[in-house]
């Protein structure tokens, strides 16, 4: 017996088995105008467009436009939909996924994509030689351990029974698996292009996506050109996108005001934020949306005094989150739990620890620290993080905690966090932004026992084996029909985390994307939770 996602079942019922109709997952925007080109700026260089390697703010969304995965998201939302697979089945035990590929999909080099390409791509991303930062996501696939150890010729669990079918066997159920098939790291690449360009494939990308790379002048400019053979009819709308690299955000904003730029990819610079938002003509061109991000203070639970839960509760009560949100000009909302509000599994009716310095002081006294103590707060050294750390420092001083600020380069803070030498860390600038919209992505690396190992991202070194077991149990529910039950289990897990309080959650950043007056398309495309920062495939120009 097999099960289909409700949306897929509905789709198949409507479309029938004929392949021409299989792409009708998207209704073109009736207001959209075809053609035209836009200019987008970024400050930092684009390192690579190889989907197995790219993991930056700039290239994440670009890679999504050049390549595709078996799964995809409804534009502007966190809802999964089939991508290169037109349908799929999950076995009863949740261990076998069978994907049926969309027929007639072609790579930019003209060759038709087959199931062998999918197998090759998954083997490639998990091959230790590839050194992919995303290899770890695929740990549930059968044969992963042998593959990552370099002892296998590929993932034994991934097979291609016929050119249109891919079968993936898991060694343990993983409810997030469909999300992983929509993650950049699983995108499908053609073997011949990878072999031709070798390590330079990232500069000569060949995919199946809506755009293909037309020009790349190192350090200056990338030009994307519409893929006329794209498998979703009518998409993309734009003929061309030019990405100009090396542009300071302040300069990009000035150029937007001059009409030379359509979207500053790095957003509105903090120093200009109030100026822009207080000018109605500019503010109306700013789209605001949630972000799958949480900024938090970690407390190392393996070291005194933070091994005492009362002390951690006191810190949670001492921090004035509203004031910190003011410091960053209201570009965030106060947080009371690890998950951001737009993440499935967020606990709506939870109130968290209210701001209560007196109560916090009493709690500290009860824990045996009536006179407070000295500690260190690590923070990344770029604005606004040191200012936020100073506000936290003042809040802590008010209850007697004397925290000295260690402002360091990002890599150094990450190093101290991983090594467990930092008593407290403000996560800003390195904060967790979800790789995919599922509550599990906020747990294992940053709150689970695996992440608490030396060098891991769980900087509080919090390890609650009971919660790890509950998490594994929740993620064994891969039946989409029981998704609500699974999300409730995750909500319970995060509530238990808040009781233990290894973190003080501070805020969830909001995204503000500014666009030129001629940009069209639904607002949620400009704050797409998955295609960060903008979903290039579905936006258009009105003139």
């Amino acid at each position: 017996m097999t099960r289909l996602l409700a949306s897929t079942a509905l789709l198949l019922a409507l479309a029938g088995p004929a392949l021409a109709q299989a792409t009708d997952t998207y209704t073109p925007d009736p207001n959209a105008r075809e053609g035209g080109s836009i200019t987008i700026t970024y400050k930092d260089d684009v390192s690579t467009l190889d989907p197995a390697i790219g993991y930056d703010w700039q290239n994440w969304s670009m890679i999504k436009s050049i390549f595709d995965g078996l799964m995809d998201y409804v534009p502007g939302t966190t809802d999964l939909r089939p991508g290169l697979a037109e349908s799929y089945e999950i076995s009863e035990d949740g261990l076998t996924y069978t994907f049926h590929l969309r027929p007639g999909v072609k790579f930019h080099n003209g060759r038709e994509m087959t199931s062998e390409d999918v197998v090759y791509s998954l083997n490639r991303v998990t091959d230790p030689e590839t050194q992919s930062p995303g290899a770890g996501f695929f740990g549930a696939i059968e044969g992963y351990d042998a593959q990552i150890a370099g002892e296998a010729e590929g993932l034994s669990g991934v097979t291609a029974p016929d050119p249109q079918t891919v079968q993936i066997k898991l060694s343990r159920p993983d409810a997030t698996f469909l999300h992983l098939m929509a993650l950049n790291f699983s995108y499908v690449v053609p073997r011949e292009a990878v072999e031709e360009f070798g390590a330079d494939f990232g500069r000569n990308p060949v995919g199946t996506g809506a755009y293909k790379l037309a020009e790349w002048t190192l350090g200056q400019r990338l030009v994307f050109e519409k893929n006329p053979d794209y498998w979703t009819p009518g998409v993309p709308y734009l003929d061309q996108i030019t990405f100009e690299i090396g542009q300071e955000p302040v300069v990009a904003l000035l150029r937007l005001q001059n009409g030379e730029v359509d979207i500053p990819g790095d957003g509105i610079p903090p120093a200009k934020f109030q100026e822009v938002m207080s000018d109605p003509a500019q503010a109306e061109r700013v789209v605001q949306g949630g972000q799958l991000q949480t900024g938090y203070v970690t407390m190392n639970v393996t070291q005194p005094p933070f091994d005492n839960a009362d002390v951690r509760h006191a810190v949670n009560m001492a921090i004035n989150k509203d004031r910190i949100v003011q410091i960053i000009n209201g570009r965030a909302i106060p947080a009371n739990q690890p998950l951001p509000p737009s993440m499935p599994g967020y606990t709506q009716d939870y109130e968290g620890y209210a701001y209560d310095p007196e109560g916090a002081k009493a709690l500290l006294a009860q824990a045996g620290f009536a006179d407070g103590f000295e500690t260190e707060l690590y923070v990344m050294n770029t604005d606004p993080n040191p200012r936020i750390a100073q506000a936290i420092q003042q809040d802590l001083a008010a209850i007697g905690i004397d925290a000295s600020i260690q402002a360091l380069a990002q890599a150094n803070v990450i190093e101290a966090g991983g090594a467990g030498t930092a008593p407290m860390i403000w996560s800003g600038g390195m904060a967790w932004i979800a790789d995919f919209p599922d509550p599990a992505n906020f747990y294992y690396p940053i709150l689970g026992c695996a992440g608490a190992e030396p060098g891991g991202w769980n900087w509080a070194k919090y390890c609650n084996e009971e919660l790890d077991a509950q998490a594994a149990q929740a993620d064994s529910i891969s039946d989409p029909a029981r998704s609500a039950e699974r999300l409730q289990m995750w909500s319970d897990i995060y509530m238990k985390v808040m009781e233990d309080a290894p973190w003080a959650p501070v805020f969830n950043e909001e995204r503000f994307t500014m666009k030129s007056p001629r940009m069209g398309g639904a607002d949620n495309l400009y704050v797409d939770p998955v295609s960060i920062p903008v979903n290039y495939d579905y936006v258009y120009v009105t003139e």
Partner: protein, 306 residues
């Protein structure tokens, strides 16, 4: 001359060797792990160790450094950890814009600095002299980041005379060159002024005047060629000063040169790029100094190379 050249070349090689050793050592002891940057947040400890092994970063310092030198001898700067491209190619692509920017800056500092210095020297102690020297003092002290943004705001945003940022046309070159050259222009005007004042007091100038030459001829044919000598020797040394400035100026103006490449690599601990840019800069500085020394005797026969 040949002996001198040989000695200087040996010296230069030793200096470059020292630069690679110090830089490599500093990056080695840096409390930041490049492997973590490559491996990403989802990596297991085994993946991290496997990448460390592949890159040879698990080896002792001397082994790593020896291997780097060996590759360097074969003109191999390695591949970027994060971009995975050849460092030599990344630098090659970005070198022409940087050289262009430097040429523009040298032109700016010479034209501005020499003119200001000469004008001030001809009217010593006057309001013009004082005004120009204050201006040069401001040029020397103003942070390039601020100068760049001010120029950009005035000429790009307010007056629309020049493009705000970018690369490709002569107009794009003006503001970054000016920003980079203002510091040198400040120095040069002060040096030119004192050198010129000094020369104008010499006997041969008095003789020239006594011969009845015009003031213009005295200054341009007799005073200037002598006063300019110390400045020419400075241009080679400027290259070193520019190497620091380009990081800032290229960032402000979105200039696609090696300064921008270096800055981005430093932020992400991309060691092969940091090493590559350092070596290229060091070579440029050493060559610049060598050139300055070699050129000096041709301009001023009193100088002899020994």
């Amino acid at each position: 001359m040949a002996g001198y050249l040989l000695r200087r070349l040996v010296q230069s090689v030793l200096i470059l060797l020292g630069v690679t050793l110090v830089t490599f050592f500093l990056l080695y002891v840096l409390p930041a792990d490049p492997v973590r940057q490559i491996a990403g947040r989802s990596a297991t400890a085994e993946t991290v160790e496997s990448i460390r092994r592949q890159l040879g970063l698990d080896q002792p310092f001397w082994v790593q450094y020896g291997r780097y030198l060996w590759n360097l001898l074969h003109l191999d700067l390695g591949r970027s950890y994060l971009q995975r491209s050849e460092v030599a190619e990344l630098i090659r692509a970005r070198l022409p814009p940087t050289l262009l920017l430097m040429a523009g800056a040298i032109l700016c500092e010479l034209v501005l600095g020499l003119t200001m210095g000469i004008v001030a020297a001809l009217r010593p102690g006057t309001a013009t002299d004082n005004g120009l020297m204050i201006a040069s003092f401001v040029g020397v002290s103003a942070p390039q980041f601020v100068v760049g943004l001010l120029l950009l705001y005035l000429f790009g945003v307010r007056l629309h005379w020049l493009p705000i940022s970018g690369y490709g046309t002569f107009a794009h070159l003006v503001l970054p060159s000016l920003t980079l050259g203002i510091l040198g222009a400040g120095w040069y005007s002060r040096m030119m002024r004192s050198s010129m004042v000094e020369v104008l007091r010499q006997d041969f100038i008095r003789t020239a005047r006594a011969k009845g030459l015009t003031r213009r001829r005295v200054i341009l044919r007799h005073a200037l060629p002598n006063a300019i000598l110390p400045i020419v020797a400075m241009i080679g040394i400027d290259i070193g000063v520019f190497m620091g400035g380009i990081v800032v100026v290229e960032s402000v103006f979105g200039w696609p040169g090696i300064g921008q490449l270096a800055w981005q690599a430093i932020q992400r601990v991309d060691i092969p790029i940091i090493m590559g840019v350092t070596i290229v800069s060091a070579v440029a500085i050493v060559l610049g100094n060598l050139l300055a020394d070699l050129v000096a005797p041709f301009i001023d026969p009193r100088i002899r190379l020994r």
